[in-house]
């Protein structure tokens, strides 16, 4: 039964206990129950509260982060950023939203009207639905599914189809290129995501998000300490899914203009932007839940509301995405695919094997967690470094002949210093 968590688990605190907003909801539901309303009413009410809460939170977060990203990237880029609308430019997102809302929406003549119209709406669905299984606090979860981790991945894969629909229906070649790139990219990185999250599940022995946070709380260990490689891979796969540099292949501005949403304008374009931000929050929330301890912070959640800790971690992690966008150039499509298949996938397979072995050792011998987890952490961090560097060495990315050669400085003209390019095995050197 999907809403059992409301009654099971730790006893409800008082409804005014803001350390967990689930208490207030629980109190409300109990009050409805006491009044003797129809039995389905609590379900509907709790579902509505969750949905409206997530929707409001994501929209306001997005508004704030549009401003924050612009200001932060501006600082990275030695600019000031928006500072005219309102104090510190805080009203800039509102102005932007008004502009986007009032702009004309153009439908290309040859567009597939149904899909063209439906995609901007559908694109919000996967981005928002992911939040249903993510615990904002101990009780603040809309539906703590048994298969939460798998659910997150499955919903992510729906995103592919929507993006393809948008790109295909626009009847624009840039859009189609962007759509095909997205499709190719996401099926590659879905595997990476699955393997990265699988390593976590092996440790926590549950796919329920609440249980994963509970595991990290019980052992006072964030998963990132024992699974650094998985987190690294997941960040990369997440960046691919939300189209941020260095992996914004699907909407590579300098190549295919805006990719799959080239033809969209006005609020339809705004929906894509909104969905991208919300998907970014979702990725950050998954990372926080799965790897960074969720709403717990080593006992601090007793004093500070857990949802504040969660949001703090989430926004802090989202900053990493902003930072990446501000600093890194973009990889090419085949390089990004190669990175998934040749680099991340073998490493993650090894990682999953190791995780399984470690859990087996731990459980078969009944070691104490305090002794065994630090040992695993040290071993896994060392192994992660060795694997990342070693595999890079094997694939030839670190060999000196592939490094840049500084230009030769000459004083006399007329000489020809050309050397044919050293062919790298499996590299992308064309025959000139």
């Amino acid at each position: 039964m999907p809403f059992d968590w409301l009654r099971a688990g730790p006893p409800l605190a008082e409804w005014w206990d803001l350390r967990d907003l689930g208490n207030a909801v629980g109190g409300l539901l109990g009050w409805i129950d006491d009044r003797g309303g129809p039995s389905w009413l609590p379900y509907v009410v709790s579902g509505l509260i969750g949905i409206v809460g997530i929707l409001l939170w994501s929209v306001f977060s997005q508004l704030f982060f549009v401003w924050a990203e612009r200001r932060l990237v501006a600082r990275i880029q030695v600019r000031l950023g928006p500072n005219r609308a309102g104090p510190l430019g805080l009203l800039q997102p509102v102005a932007d939203a008004l502009k986007v809302l009032t702009k004309e929406m153009i439908t290309p003549r040859n567009a597939d009207r149904l899909l063209f119209w439906a995609s901007p709406i559908l694109v919000m669905v996967p981005a928002l639905v992911v939040f249903a299984v993510l615990p904002f606090g101990e009780r603040m979860v809309l539906a703590d599914l048994n298969v939460g981790v798998l659910f997150v991945i499955a919903i992510g894969s729906i995103n592919t189809i929507v993006v393809f629909m948008a790109g295909w229906s626009s009847s624009n070649k840039f859009s189609l290129l962007g759509a095909m790139r997205t499709v190719a990219m996401l099926i590659s990185y879905e595997l990476v995501q699955v393997l990265a999250l699988l390593a976590v599940v092996v440790f926590t022995n549950s796919m329920r998000m609440g249980a994963i946070v509970g595991w990290q709380d019980d052992f006072n260990t964030w998963i990132v300490f024992v699974q650094p490689l998985a987190l690294l891979a997941y960040i990369f796969a997440g960046a691919v899914e939300i189209n941020r540099t260095p992996t914004d292949i699907a909407e590579a501005e300098s190549e295919i203009v805006a990719g799959y949403h080239t033809e969209y304008g006005g609020i339809r374009w705004g929906m894509f932007q909104l969905a991208e931000y919300v998907a970014g929050f979702a990725i950050a929330a998954i990372v926080v839940t799965m790897y960074l301890g969720g709403w717990t912070l080593w006992g601090l959640e007793e004093w500070v509301p857990g949802w504040l800790i969660f949001l703090g971690k989430l926004y802090g992690f989202f900053f990493v995405f902003i930072w990446m966008r501000g600093t890194l150039p973009r990889l090419r499509v085949d390089q990004l695919m190669g990175f998934a298949w040749k680099y991340l996938l073998p490493l993650l397979l090894v990682n999953v094997l190791l995780a399984g072995l470690e859990v087996l050792i731990w459980q078969e011998n009944g070691f104490a967690a305090e002794a065994v987890l630090p040992a695993f952490a040290v071993a896994n961090w060392a192994l992660a470094v060795v694997l990342v560097v070693g595999w890079g060495q094997v694939l030839g990315h670190l060999r000196p002949e592939h490094r840049a050669k500084r230009p030769v400085l000459v004083k006399e003209v007329g000489a020809i210093l050309y050397e044919p390019y050293p062919l790298r095995p499996g590299g992308s050197v064309p025959e000139a």
């Binding site: 039964m1 389905w40 798998l150 894969s157 189809i161 499709v183 099926i187």
Partner: protein, 163 residues
């Protein structure tokens, strides 16, 4: 949950599944057909949820609604433009009796079979049960399937290799 709720949900999902399955063969545009196919798969996933098979439902979304259409899309995009619509084909006539016979068989089985009623509630946890079953009782078919998939993958790679 109320029985009535389950019944309403079942019929809605069934209508969604069958209706979009019909649209898959009815629409002329192949990409539209793929979109309807996804809808149909999502409907099936919903029915799995009703049967409290949560793992199967999510796997259905992941594989059938997320991954299989991508393969179909690739197939459509890689074929020349001429074949991108669901054109009339001369194979329609021979297919008709075949489909009719199949339909008759299914209907007769559905009518004739004495369907047992479920006597217990839903499973508490399906994932670990499925996992254990796959790696103990059904380990042979599981391994055979994985070897088959590996062989198919290798075959595909060899087919498209240029050298």
């Amino acid at each position: 949950m109320d029985d009535s709720g389950s019944v309403v949900a079942f019929w809605t999902l069934a209508a969604l599944t069958v209706g979009s399955a019909l649209m898959v063969v009815a629409v002329r545009n192949l990409v539209h057909a793929v979109v309807y196919l996804i809808l149909s798969f999502v409907g099936v996933a919903g029915i799995f949820v009703l049967l409290s098979a949560d793992f199967l439902a999510v796997a259905q979304v992941l594989i059938y609604a997320g991954a299989i259409p991508v393969l179909i899309i690739f197939a459509i995009m890689l074929t020349p433009r001429a074949a991108r619509d669901n054109a009339e084909t001369s194979l329609g006539l021979p297919a008709l009796p075949l489909v009719g016979a199949l339909l008759a068989t299914i209907i007769s089985i559905a009518v004739v079979t004495d369907w047992p009623e479920a006597t217990r509630g839903g499973f508490e946890e399906t994932t670990s049960v499925i996992g254990e079953a796959l790696l103990s009782t059904y380990v042979l078919p599981f391994e055979i399937a994985s070897v088959l998939l590996l062989a198919a993958m290798l075959g595909a790679i060899i087919l498209v290799r240029e050298d």
